[in-house]
């Protein structure tokens, strides 16, 4: 099984709560759409084997909780991410306005080599429901050098394109960097763990540091 694919690309889906992060992962990986979803608690991931221009690649897509409160946890997962699908909801202006917050967050926590794709979800909505014009999405995408897609999980628009575009950008980035992003499988397994709490408990163990008599 491990030989079925050439590499694993770890991808993170980020964006405000309720923009459709879980939904897009379901749509893409399970090819399903549900009308009602539950909010994501903690973190989960799904994997999909894709054909990237003739090369089999495993996409490992991490789905995160959107609320800012859980950022301390989710940033632990930024570290190994090679690509980020950043999402907003075209019917929710706030989710668009918060993109700057998310971009700053990515800059602070993710690898500088991480590649990003922007997706404006729920584009099947009516004109009256729409709060963010396509041009505004395009503009911010251009400023931050991200490919941009308006997508719809409900109507299955551009989902595949958005993920393939992200995968291609990851491949380009790896080639540019001489493939030392993750040239073996074992490193893909790298956990977000071992930092945060690892050091936390280590810190409490090394309390005897204080005593230097």
């Amino acid at each position: 099984m491990a030989l079925d694919f050439v590499a694993t690309y770890k991808v993170l889906v980020l964006g405000d709560s309720n923009v459709g992060k879980t939904c897009i992962v379901h749509r893409y990986c399970d090819e399903k759409y549900y009308d009602t979803y539950i909010s994501t608690i903690g973190i989960d991931f799904k994997q999909k084997l894709i054909n990237l221009d003739g090369v089999p690649i495993k996409l490992q897509i991490w789905d995160t909780a959107g609320q800012e409160r859980f950022r301390t946890l989710t940033t632990a997962y930024y570290r190994g991410a090679m690509g980020i699908l950043l999402m907003y909801d075209v019917t929710n202006l706030e989710s668009y306005n918060n993109l700057s917050y998310w971009l700053r967050n990515i800059q602070e926590n993710a690898s500088p080599d991480v590649v990003k794709v922007l997706a404006g979800n729920k584009c099947e909505c009516s004109a009256t429901q729409r709060m963010v014009d396509k041009e505004r999405g395009e503009k911010i995408a251009e400023n931050f050098d991200m490919p941009f897609f308006e997508v719809s999980c409900k109507s299955n628009i551009n989902i595949e394109d958005a993920f393939l575009s992200l995968a291609r950008k990851i491949r380009e980035q790896r080639e540019r960097r001489g493939d030392n992003f993750d040239n073996d499988e074992s490193k893909d397994k790298k956990s977000p763990g071992s930092n945060g709490l690892g050091t936390f408990s280590l810190g409490s163990l090394s309390g005897e540091n204080r005593c230097t008599c």
């Binding site: 009602t36 608690i41 903690g42 973190i43 956990s191 977000p192 709490l197 090394s206 005897e208 204080r210």
Partner: protein
Amino acid sequence: MDESVRYDRCHQVHLGVLSESQFSSVEEDVQNLPPQGTGNILFTHDGVLLKKASAEHIADLNTSGSLSLVEYSRSSAELPRRRLLLEWQPNDSIMIADDSQDQGDWALVDRISGRTRTTSECRAFNTRPIEPSGGANTRSRIMRAQLEDLSSVEVRHRGQTIRFMRKGANGVHSEFFFQHGNADLFVRSMRDQHLIENAETSRSGGEEYAILTTENQKLKKTFAELDIGQIKASHLPRESWLPNKLAGFLGNIPDYVQPPFQRSPKPRPGVLISGDRQTSPDNYQIIGLSGSTNSACSSNGQSRGGSAEKSPADSELETLNAQDEKIVNNLPDRQRVERGLPLTETQWLEFQTPDGRISDSVRIKELIFRGGVVQSLRPEVWKFLLNYYLWSDTHVERIERRKQKSIEYYNMKAQWLAMTTAQEANFCGYRERKCQIEKDVKRTDRSLQFFAGEDNPNLTLLQGILMTYVMYNFDLGYVQGMSDLLAPILEIQVNEVDAFWCFVGFMELVFTNFDIDQAGMKTQFAQIRRLIEFANAPLFNYMRSHDSDNMYFCFRWLLVWYKRELNNEDVLKLWECLWTRLPCPNFHLLFSVAILDQETRVIIESQYEFTEILKHVNELSGNIDVQKTLQVAEGIYLQLKASETLPNDIRSIIGEPLLPVATGEEIDGGTVDEEPTYSDDGFDELVKELTPEEKLRQQALLEEACDRSLFLQFH
């Protein structure tokens, strides 16, 4: 298997005759060694942190590695006979050649696969990445010292810390911290090989040993060999014709067979000495930290995963170690506990006095913990469990209380109902909370009949209660997950006032889960980690060696008390059990430990890494047997409670009385005592009484507000 102590593997790295297959690995080893000589590991201990060293090793401080005693012999005459070196090698530079077969290479001592850290991780860890080849960089990271350059050894902090002193007045050469077990075996090994001898007890209360010069070593050895008890020392591999395994076994022979003059120093508590069991009151201090070497036997048989892959030799060793381990941890066998039937209406009535008080709340809680509550009683009994009603109140007092709480509720509800659009526009914090509630209400438990369908009035109730909670506790506000906690309560209570105050009671138990800094969650991760370390060492060791001991995968379990893992009926059942706070505080953590206990074999045998464990844990949703897991959790609780060597930090987690810390001992380094993490229910905060004057004034205000809010609500 005990991963921290490998004294059985006294393999010679370089033998006179090598098989071809060994050649390649030996070539590499040659580079790892000092310029000349062949190395022979006399003793190795894993999980040893480098605490102090010369500047060149600064990047490896606080890194875990293996501390070894290595003997190099030289065939040419340039250098004197044999040289003994102390070596410490960081774990992440140790690669496994093939852990399925014994290759006699000391590289075997660690199972941690080569894992390259990213730059940012390295910053976080204060370490530097190893080269993919494990080449030059690795070599330079090995810390070596010739024993003859050292003057003495100090053991401190109840055996947890070992310090090597330079010759002359040059001070500390290096210091190590034993994460697992303690320095006893290391010291014993050195003593048995006549490399050190007891010196004065040092000023700090620790133990001090002088490192013997080569001449003295010989003398000591010759002297010792005159005694028949010295057979034990024959496990020195260099002179030994005994197979290594046997040598290891001999190393296990307890010290009491030794002649008195070379008895071991006063054994510290927690040391692996069979037949010489320490029961001094300060036992727990060490045993806690050496938890990883224990309790393989404490988990029930099914938990002992991974043994299938072990070579017969390993199994044999494990059996030997298990005997030691059992003594150290001393967790009694797990008892099977029985669950009971739900509390019935008849029983409930029997507990009520004529004026409506609940006569024996302790017994009631016991019954509820054991079997839950019948559906028809839930609305009433939950009000008591969630501290909305007081057990001691009479019927009349309860009616009055409910009335008061109702007024209070509508008062707070009026506050947000009266918020104007302009106010809202100028009140970001409020707006954010409101938006988040709206987003979550429409995706909370919609598959349940009670919340299903468009324009379901119960969704309005759910939203109203959460909004009112925002006004009740604006600082906490609304955080994702709270709607999950409220939904079952509302479903049972139906009435919004009752549901609100029950929810407030529940939030008192779990509000730290939603803290902005997530400190409450982190504390619970650490507590679960600690409980597993003590109660399920095989799993703990596995997870630690696979970078999975941060327990992040328990996040969803803890945040909403398993709401997402169970069907609705099981959620109700589990929560009412947990609300009793029986049999101990933090029983909800033992529920996590119990789930993982049942998954131990799968996790270890499947060789799951962090991501796979996360996936596995997430996929357990819908497949957890609540009754069985409650039984396992209680079984583990009883094991812990009955343990004679339960460390104080675990006592505090499960609400056992703490043992006094022995005076005159250094406290630090001994236990991982954290800040007092367990706080009692917090219910007391809720029932603060007002003075009669305050009550009257409040009353007038509230009635006015209530009228207004009701007016707003219905017009």
